[in-house]
């Protein structure tokens, strides 16, 4: 079966003064048509770098794409020319960034910022592009679209700006939308609205989405599959159901365990995962999570675990899944009524 997007063995480094940062190591995943795939993981785990490489947005230097392949609709993007990439960017793949306050050009009216892509990709005239842009503004739920077309970003609130970003990303009906923490910078109530909007638009347009988030609640609500990243590697990949019901990586357990219970009467403390993220300059030769892992065995510190296939759509990079390893179960059970809401950085 042909996937819409297929990433294989992606390796990305950054050359810095302190040495080479191994930001993404041997990452493979795929996204199918119309599917919502979430990527979770703590700060610095390489989520943004992974998705930005799809769009060719990694600045080189300092970035170096060491290897791997990114196939979109069967076409290799890592070896595409700038010109070919421009035909994909904004047209077949749209992207929403984390910080709506700085992602729009402050000196250009927002209408034009939406219309630009339409003029470039769909060869619309200025008038047609304007009409379509106003329609997009309306579609993302911003009142008075005609008036709003002529306004500058500073006249919009954060939530409204993120809606504009969504309008920009979706203007050309892309096959794939990459949303890198689209709601992290927003108020909780606004977060819900923006997510609601994305879900609705996803339903209408059947656009596939890669959604990066810190919020497992959002994952549960919106995604079909989820990938967990840690220290530049993809530690677990599963359907959302499997990830919550049958997680196979101790880091995932930690993530799930750190979900606060907001509704419970007794105040349950948010349980952080102990230890600090791995040093990406000289990552340990074994599993990057091993130094923080309660279940680490000798082999974990010595050798990087392979990607154990649990079943057809579930894999985990952890030695515990080896047949020779002792059987270890998740040390707690998820209460069904638990509200799966994790605010931003709190997972770390």
């Amino acid at each position: 079966m042909n996937h819409l997007l297929e990433v294989n063995n992606l390796e990305i480094n950054f050359k810095t003064y302190g040495g080479e940062v191994k930001a993404v190591r041997d990452v493979s995943f795929h996204v199918d048509k119309g599917e919502v795939v979430a990527i979770v993981g703590e700060s610095g785990s390489g989520k943004s770098v992974t998705v930005q490489s799809i769009m060719g947005l990694i600045p080189t230097p300092p970035g170096v794409i060491k290897g791997g392949s990114i196939k979109f609709q069967g076409k290799e993007l890592l070896r595409a020319s700038k010109r070919e990439m421009r035909k994909v960017k904004g047209s077949k793949i749209g992207m929403i960034f984390q910080d709506p306050m700085t992602s729009l050009n402050p000196t250009m009216i927002v209408g034009k910022q939406i219309a630009e892509g339409l003029i470039t990709h769909q060869k619309l005239s200025k008038q047609e592009a304007k009409k379509k842009a106003i329609e997009m503004i309306k579609q993302v739920g911003i009142p008075n679209p005609e008036e709003r077309y002529n306004q500058f970003p500073h006249e919009f609130s954060g939530g409204m700006r993120q809606r504009v970003m969504i309008a920009i990303a979706l203007a050309c009906n892309p096959e794939l939308l990459i949303a890198d923490e689209p709601t992290t910078a927003l108020d909780v109530t606004i977060q819900a609205q923006v997510l609601e909007l994305m879900k609705k638009l996803q339903k209408d347009t059947q656009t596939a989405i890669i959604l990066i988030t810190h919020d497992l609640g959002v994952v549960a609500e919106t995604a079909q599959r989820v990938m967990v990243m840690y220290g530049g590697i993809m530690v677990e990949s599963a359907t959302v159901f499997d990830l919550f019901e049958n997680p196979k990586h101790p880091y995932t357990w930690g993530l799930l365990n750190s979900i606060p219970n907001l509704e419970g009467t007794e105040k349950k403390q948010l349980i952080p995962i102990e230890g600090s993220p791995p040093d990406l300059f000289s990552p340990p030769k074994g599993c990057p999570f091993a130094p923080r892992c309660k279940y680490a065995m000798d082999i974990c510190l010595e050798e990087m675990p392979g990607d154990y296939q649990i079943d057809e759509s579930h894999s985990a990079r952890c030695w515990l899944n080896d047949s020779r390893a002792p059987k270890v179960e998740m040390p707690f059970t998820l209460e069904k009524e638990k509200t799966v809401t994790v605010g931003g950085e709190s997972i770390d």
């Binding site: 421009r86 904004g90 892509g117």
Partner: protein, 308 residues
């Protein structure tokens, strides 16, 4: 309204500068006739002082000075009796202004271009070459650069005339000499501003839209990078159009720089005060215009805003 308020501030500023100039000139010991007093009879000197109101008490002088200023009359020159300060400015300013305007156009156009090109080739050969050029441009003084230009273009190749004023060909070399330093300064400013802007998130957004590099650089990069550069165009503009003594001297440009320097040596009070007030007025008016235009260039600044 903002513009009116800003305008009033401008008038006030000019008044303060005019007053300061007046009182500072009065505080300097000695007067224009100090050297004459040794040779001329006392009565003659007294008469001369009376002609320029120097015998009046300072407050009266001040009021007379302000009154004339409002009438745009900067008074008579002391050394060249037949000419008023207005005459001097009228005869020297056009050449200085022509030269200055040409220089600022050259400096802005090539400075911005150089800065942009350097930023887009960050840390590459072109960037390094541009910045070496800029450092030379900033550090080589005009009294070295000017003879150098004359030597190359007029003496060696004989393609441009020197040492007179009249046709546009005559203005080429002094324009280049005058433009070099500001050009280098603009280039450096623009480069760092551009580097900063090109790292902004909205450039990534523009890139993610699949726009051409040209479009990203021009409508998203330059448009924003130019804003901080605009803020020092004002002082730059004034320093260029008010003439530079050295360059005007070397290229025999009949500009205002010479009169200004002469007036200081001659203690020609009215000329010093007149030209100072004239220059500062130009500066203040230019800053006013730039401030107003800034509000059109940068939509985040509102013309109706209170304060600042």
């Amino acid at each position: 309204m903002y513009i009116v308020k800003r305008f009033m501030t401008m008038i006030l500023t000019i008044w303060v500068i005019a007053s300061l100039t007046f009182f500072i000139m009065n505080m300097i010991p000695g007067d224009p006739f100090a050297s004459d007093a040794d040779v001329l009879p006392k009565e003659v000197v007294e008469n001369m002082r009376a002609k320029y109101n120097l015998d009046e008490p300072v407050p009266v002088q001040y009021v007379l000075y302000l009154k004339n200023l409002v009438m745009l009359d900067l008074g008579p020159s002391i050394k060249s009796e037949s000419r008023t300060v207005n005459d001097i400015i009228a005869s020297g300013f056009p050449a200085s202004a022509t030269l200055g305007i040409q220089a600022i156009i050259v400096a802005l156009f090539f400075g911005l271009l150089l800065g942009i090109v350097a930023a887009l080739n960050h840390n590459k050969l072109l960037d390094n070459a541009a910045m070496i050029f800029a450092i030379i441009g900033i550090s080589v003084p005009s009294f070295i650069l000017s003879p150098l230009l004359i030597n190359i273009f007029a003496v060696k190749f004989g393609i441009l005339p020197v040492a007179s004023w009249g046709t546009w060909q005559h203005s080429v070399l002094p324009t280049l000499a005058l433009a070099t330093t500001p050009l280098a300064v603009v280039a450096r400013y623009m480069r760092s501003s551009m580097l900063e802007v090109m790292n902004q998130n909205y450039i990534k957004t523009a890139d993610a839209k699949g726009l051409s590099t040209f479009k990203i650089v021009l409508s998203h990069g330059v448009r924003n990078a130019i804003l901080p550069v605009v803020s020092f165009i004002g002082p730059l503009f004034v320093s260029l159009i008010t003439g530079t003594f050295v360059i005007e001297k070397i290229f025999a440009v009949p500009g205002i720089g010479k009169y200004f320097v002469d007036s200081i040596f001659n203690r020609d009070y009215p000329v010093i005060m007149g030209t100072t007030v004239f220059f500062s007025t130009i500066l203040v008016v230019t800053l006013f215009l730039i401030d107003i235009s800034y509000r059109f260039i940068d939509p985040r600044i509102k013309l109706t805003s209170k304060g600042d």
